[in-house]
Amino acid sequence: MIQLSVLKEGHRAVIVRIGGQGTLRRRILEMGLTKGTEIYVEKYAPLRDPMELIVKGYHVSLRVEEAAQITVEPINPPA
């Protein structure tokens, strides 16, 4: 299990746990990043922050520091 923030571009993973607290945590969940959801790292911004993910069929961006709160289980091999 690793932090979402270290997952590389083009890799897939399943969300294991959303850490952090308060507003941010709830907001992340409400956007559909719930436990067991599969995510795909589409890309990192040119300055390496934020990152773009594909979740439940749509694109969403997260700051790297926010993604560090999310624990994921990588799916191998990356599609």
Binding site: I18, T23, L24, R25, R26, R27, I28, L29, E30, M31, G32, T34, K35, E42, K43, Y44, A45, P46, L47, R48, D49, P50, E52, K56, G57, Y58, H59, V60, S61, L62, R63, E66
Partner: protein, 731 residues
């Protein structure tokens, strides 16, 4: 407010996620019959339209686009309160069919509210089909007990049927009843039931809202619902509060997590169940155009250059293309002024009309072309989906100041003109981000401040003028960054909104909605600005025009007559030096005339005010004349130069060099000039900006605060520059 079918007026609220095509549908329904304002007390845009259809008056309300109804942002609070309090007859939830799963989260919450009849519009059904999605609308309708209509907003397909269904739903006697509800896990359901019972027992008169919903919100620790309920509960407040806290504690231990997190999870579980029954995806994969566009537009190497190009193009369009109609408007205002001067005999009224109202309002109206073009560009960025990408690119940099990526565009626009820049801050969703952006954007040195720098730097720092002006611009940016960080850690603490931002698919914008967007925002500018500017410019004019009769220190008319007589004699005596003597005479006459004008200015209310505030400016090395120029600069920065020209007695129409020479000979030092430039950079840009801040923050408090803090910062930094410079031995 509460409209019932009886009085033949039906209220329909449109709700939906951002980018769901909600606004397009709203525009299609209401066309130009829409009213744009603000929701009371907040800066969230409120749009409503009244139309007549099927023999009814239909009041259509466009609720703010939100992803949920959890009251985190003002938009969510506004949307939820509207449904709770105003209780529209029907709420139409606009669902992006190509993004069904996430859209159903808001839909679930709307049903859970149990306040109004709910129906769904499965919008962009063509996009969903193209992506290989198949949605069983009939099944969805059956499962969730809501009418479902498929629509394609940008082709205006299905919209008529949507309205028809909404009216039908509003007229039906059946109260909203949802058989299939979100069922939470056993322990949570038990807790809900026990709170529900307590609420039903304790609350008399009975609770206005659904008790199950209220119980759920209490367990989710919803601060707004809790506060309102406890206020209403009176003597039972303590009992309800204790019971809620206990249940929350039990659940937290049971799940090893906060109940609201578990419940959000379970709502998505419920949605997953619905998805299984109504949603199928065909295996054929189409090319995702939007993703391909992003391969270039947010690419590691090409992303920034292209972004800079777009910004440059927007600047060019706004300020270069805008310059032409600006000239026409200026010419029109001049024509009008001359016309008034010809028509009316010289009088106080004429002077007020021409020098006060026309000059003042004219100076603001000229911004209209800029504003129209700028808002067109911004609407284009927003409607295509590029705005989200620009925030994605810039967020890392803006985050250093404690701002959101979207703050970049308003701040950049500030270098052109602060008025549209502050209006551009509307694109920020979080109110705190928006206020912070509005507070620091005026430090971006706008184009109207440049003439002041040119005159001062040109006169005192000739060889290094360019470098110095550049440093002044940098100082503005540095101040903005410092103040941004300061406010973020004090007044507007902690609200650095999470950057969980959707990157919607690129879409071809619709001209109609671009036009509506542009026009509605520009209209607001015109309406509000003219009022404030009208009063402000008449005030400035009155201060410089009164008192009407001035007793001069000497009799200028007599002195001028003396000069004329003296030269007439000398000319008669010496015919050879005629040209030289005439020139000498004219120069002396001119000197007297300007001295009189300067004295008149000194004795006007403005001049007296200048003397009054002179002690304030003295520590900055600025004399009373500079002080008056800065005071008039509150109206507009362009006026600073013209006021100085009057006070330092420079002839009209002479170049800035003449003013520069006059400044040098008046005893102003380079250090004082620098201090004045710093002050001009940092204090309130102009009346129009103040009016815009008032308009955009919807708060007198923030407006007054911004005026005082900017002036304070300006004074402080000018003081540091002047006194510090003196200590270091500069002049």
């Amino acid at each position: 407010m509460n409209a019932h079918p009886m009085n033949r007026c039906i209220t329909i609220a449109l709700s939906g996620n951002p980018n769901s095509g909600k606004t397009t549908i709203f525009n299609n329904i209401t066309g130009t019959r829409q009213k744009v304002g603000n929701w009371p007390g907040v800066t969230v845009e409120k749009k409503e339209g009244l139309i007549h259809r099927f023999g009814f008056d239909l009041k259509i309300i466009d609720l703010p686009g939100t992803y949920s109804l959890t009251p985190f942002s003002i938009e969510e609070i506004v949307a939820r309160d509207y449904v709770l309090e105003a209780r529209p007859d029907v709420v139409i939830d606009i669902i992006d069919a190509s993004n069904l799963e996430r859209s159903l989260y808001l839909a679930t919450q709307l049903r859970e509210l149990g306040r109004s009849k709910v129906m769904f519009a499965l919008n962009m059904s063509d996009v969903a089909r193209a992506r290989g999605f198949k949605i069983d609308g009939a099944k969805l309708s059956e499962l969730l007990d809501v009418p479902v209509v498929s629509t394609i907003g940008n082709k205006n397909e299905g919209v008529e049927r949507l309205l028809e269904k909404a009216v039908e739903l509003a007229l039906s006697d059946k109260p909203p009843e949802f058989r299939r509800k979100v069922r939470y896990s056993q322990d949570i359901e038990t807790a809900i039931a026990s709170l529900d019972r307590l609420l039903q027992a304790c609350m008399s008169p009975a609770l206005d809202y659904d008790t199950r919903w209220t119980a759920i919100k209490l367990l989710e620790n919803d601060p707004i619902v809790r506060k309102r309920l406890l206020e209403q509960a009176e003597e039972h407040a303590e009992q309800i509060a204790t019971e809620t806290d206990q249940l929350r504690q039990v659940l937290s231990q049971r799940f090893n997590d906060e109940p609201e997190i578990v419940m959000t999870d379970e709502r998505y579980g419920f949605i997953a169940g619905i998805m299984k029954e109504v949603f199928t995806i065909s295996s054929r994969q189409r090319v995702d155009i939007s993703r391909n566009i992003d391969l270039v537009l947010t690419n590691r190497f090409t992303g920034f250059p292209i972004f800079l190009f777009f910004i440059w193009a927007m600047f060019q369009l706004t300020f270069t293309l805008g310059a032409y109609p600006m000239e026409w408007i200026e010419a029109g205002v001049t024509l009008l002024s001359t016309g008034v001067e010809r028509l009316l005999p010289p009088s106080l009224l004429r002077e007020m009309l021409v020098d006060g109202i026309l000059a003042g309002v004219g100076s603001v109206i000229v911004f209209l072309p800029n504003i129209l073009i700028l808002f067109f560009c911004i609407a284009l960025f927003e409607d295509t989906g590029y705005m989200a990408r620009s925030a994605f690119l810039m967020d890392k940099i803006m985050h250093l100041i404690g701002l959101h990526g979207k703050s970049f565009i308003p701040m950049l626009m500030g270098f052109g003109c602060n008025v549209p820049a502050i209006m551009a801050a509307r694109t920020l969703e979080s109110e705190k981000d928006r206020i912070l952006t509005i507070l620091i954007t005026p430090f971006m040195s706008c184009s109207a401040r440049l003439p002041v720098y040119i005159v001062l730097a040109g006169a005192f720092f000739d060889a290094h003028a360019g470098t110095l002006i550049f440093v002044i611009y940098l100082l503005g940016i540095a101040t903005a960054i410092l103040m941004g960080r300061l406010f973020r850690s004090t007044l507007l603490r902690g609200a650095d909104a999470p950057f969980v931002m959707e990157l919607p698919p690129y879409r071809v914008p619709m001209l109609k909605s671009l036009m509506i967007h542009m026009w509605e925002r520009s209209k607001m500018f015109l309406k509000k600005m003219t009022g404030v500017i009208l009063v402000g410019s008449v005030l400035v004019w009155a201060l410089s025009a009164f008192p009407r009769t001035v007793t001069y220190s000497r009799n200028y008319a007599e002195a001028m007559e003396q000069v004329r007589v003296e030269y007439a004699q000398r000319l008669a005596a010496d015919d050879d030096a005629r040209a030289a003597l005439t020139a000498e005479r004219d120069a002396r006459l001119q000197e007297l005339r300007w001295s009189r004008q300067s004295e008149a200015a000194e004795r006007s209310l403005m001049g007296r005010l200048g003397k009054l505030v002179a002690p304030v400016f003295a520590p900055l090395g600025i004399d009373w004349r500079g002080g008056v120029a800065l005071l008039t600069g509150f109206a507009a920065k362009e006026i600073v130069v013209s006021t100085m020209a009057v006070l330092y007695a420079v002839e009209d129409g002479e170049s800035g060099d003449a003013l520069g020479r006059a400044l040098v000979s008046s005893g102003m030092t380079p250090l004082a000039a620098l201090s004045m430039m710093v002050f001009v950079l940092l204090y309130v840009p102009c009346l129009a900006t103040i009016a815009t801040i008032r308009r955009e923050t919807a708060s007198l408090k923030w407006t007054a605060f911004s005026v005082f803090y900017m002036t304070g910062v300006a004074w402080l930094l000018a003081f540091v520059v002047f006194q510090g410079g003196r200590l270091l031995g500069f002049q």
